[in-house]
Symmetry: C2
Subunit: 138 residues, 2 copies
């Protein structure tokens, strides 16, 4: 995962917290990047039904309340997949008993670990990020 997930949370906090219309240019200025990169991230969030673009005013709107928007959903929207934290080597030797069973073994072990990471992401929301930011500001 590159910084897409972090940038998505940054953008969503701005959209959620601002009274004014938030455009991709405003977000890009705050993130420190260009507006086209922000529009790419927002189009992933829009495709997943997390935001809508308000064409006439040129800004964005949250479609899910911050309390109900989990970090898991944001992760999945920007990465296009469930959390994938491990890579398994693919050329193991089938003539060896360990080599021929390592892939299934690690797939099972990693599945458990990725599942627990998924649960942790499901347990945190955009609202938790906003609460954390407010406590940082004070």
């Amino acid at each position: 995962m590159d910084t897409k997930f972090s940038v998505a949370i940054h953008a969503l906090i701005m959209i959620s917290e601002s009274d004014k219309t938030v455009t991709s240019e405003t977000i890009a200025h705050s993130v420190g990047t260009n507006a086209s990169y922000i529009r790419r991230i927002l189009s992933l969030l829009r495709r997943d039904g997390i935001v809508e673009g308000r064409r006439k005013v040129g800004g964005f709107n949250l479609l899910i309340s911050p309390e109900n928007l989990t970090l898991f959903r944001i992760w999945k929207a920007v990465s296009g997949e469930e959390p994938h934290l491990f890579d398994i080597h693919q050329n193991s030797n089938d003539t060896c008993i360990v080599g021929s069973h390592i892939k299934q073994t690690l797939t099972a072990m990693y599945g458990d670990l990725e599942q627990s990471f998924t649960k942790a992401l499901q347990g945190k929301t955009l609202n938790d990020c906003i609460i954390e930011m407010r406590s940082e500001i004070q």
Copy 2:
């Protein structure tokens, strides 16, 4: 994380389960790679006190019982650091209230999530991998 972690577990299962001396060549043959790559991984495990090289016989020995060797310790030995699952963009604009607090906010949020992943890795051992592999073999 590339496949180093998976290859390390593969190597450690072989070292733990074999009655015979296991050399880097034997492991490389099973993993499907070259012996110098395996020696690089084993030197990381040796540096952390997980294995010792038996120079005279040219093989390797586990220094920690599989029941006590957690996946967290293996992860740390091969990656050189605690689990790091998220990246934060570094050019946020300090003149924006969100931009100036996003780094601390995400560091706190991610710290919690990485901590729960660390706990999950601490809760699994090499022995759990061996048990899983035995059930795959049967």
